[in-house]
Amino acid sequence: MGIPSRGAPLARRLAARIAEFSGVRVPTGTLDVTLYRDDLRRGPTRPLEATALPDGGVDDRLVVLVDDVLFSGRTVRAALDALRDHGRPRAVQLAVLVDRGHRELPIRADYVGKNVPTSRSEDVSVLLEEFDDRDGVVLR
């Protein structure tokens, strides 16, 4: 299940690759975590994004959460809370394209595209064709 916005297309791409390489079709979905964030009162109103459970729901299944960048871990914390309100998965794993460190919570990814050591002041942006007309990771 992809976490919007950029986790959603990443989840679909991963599912497509798994189907291509192993022939296994993995259902996908999206999980918006905005309503579960702990920082809503630290910025302007955040628009909500779509939540779409995979066909058959999440009960008793292995759910892999997918996001673009793993940083403080707070988004993943919100995602775990959101997921709990949708059902009781057998297990939950985490896949991220970039792990840039600086965790503020005891959270780690099960699958990492690339570990990128960064300083806190740097900004890591993942660009995806679906949003940005090209794929890439930009470090500023």
């Binding site: 918006d32 809503l40 009162r41 955040r46 628009p47 909500l48 309100d85």
Partner: protein, 317 residues
Amino acid sequence: MKHLLSTDGLDPATAVAILDTADNLKRTLLGREVRKLPTLRGRTVVTMFYENSTRTRVSFEIAGKWMSADVINVSASGSSVGKGESLRDTALTLAAAGADCVIVRHPASGAAHRLADWLAEAGTSVVNAGDGMHEHPTQALLDAATLRERLGTLEGRRIAIVGDVLHSRVARSNVHLLHALGADVVLVAPPTLLPAGVRTWPVSVSHELDAELPAVDAVMLLRVQAERMTSGSGGGGGNFFPSAREYSIAYGLNDNRLRLMPEHAVVLHPGPMLRGMEIASAVADSPRAAITDQVRNGVHVRMAVLYHLLAHEEETA
């Protein structure tokens, strides 16, 4: 957004953002066993109702609770209002006791605006849940949400608002919001039930319901507000129309009139309905009527309003 006091002057982008949030909330909660979101945990919402209400008060209370806010209901009877406390003092008391948001319904037009001024220092948000004959913005938003759901878009759609426009805050709020969202509004009422300034509104006006029905995408019926028709005697309509029966013959939506409307056209009513007066029972219960959808959407729209008022950094407005 700090307050929601009227749809007059509400920027269309904000209105659309609220409607989109409501739509997302509705889909997020669909089919869920636990219809509770933690978003407004620890925030306190007080409803202050100085007029009778079932659906609006309950809808706000459910909306607040589904967002995990603590919701406290104050009604005029059973509170210090009955001892003669002014609206201002009651509001300041509630703010001092820790209310983050006050939702107010009051028989005086402009009450919510006054309240917002008084509570500016305390930083409390105010939602207008109906002030006299002025506005009822969340009703207009839930009507727009229902129309968007049924018609896809409001852009270029023709909406007839029928009945007691004069006394209707629902009509005023809808006129402004529907106009802002690009709809084409026609008010249909006897001349006695139209306000004096109606010519300055962004609407067209008609006195002939049958002539309008073939071209509408939606008909929004208004309740005949007998409680606000204090002048005159008998007949049910004061001096505004001869009798309930005559009103119903000229402006009531019955089966025959429903057949004049296009196949896709929707019937709305803000409730409470007077069956047999402005709407025939068969019409109210037909699948063309979106009246229960309005109530259902009302909860999501009010959740969205609370989200847009309370789930962001402090702003000074």
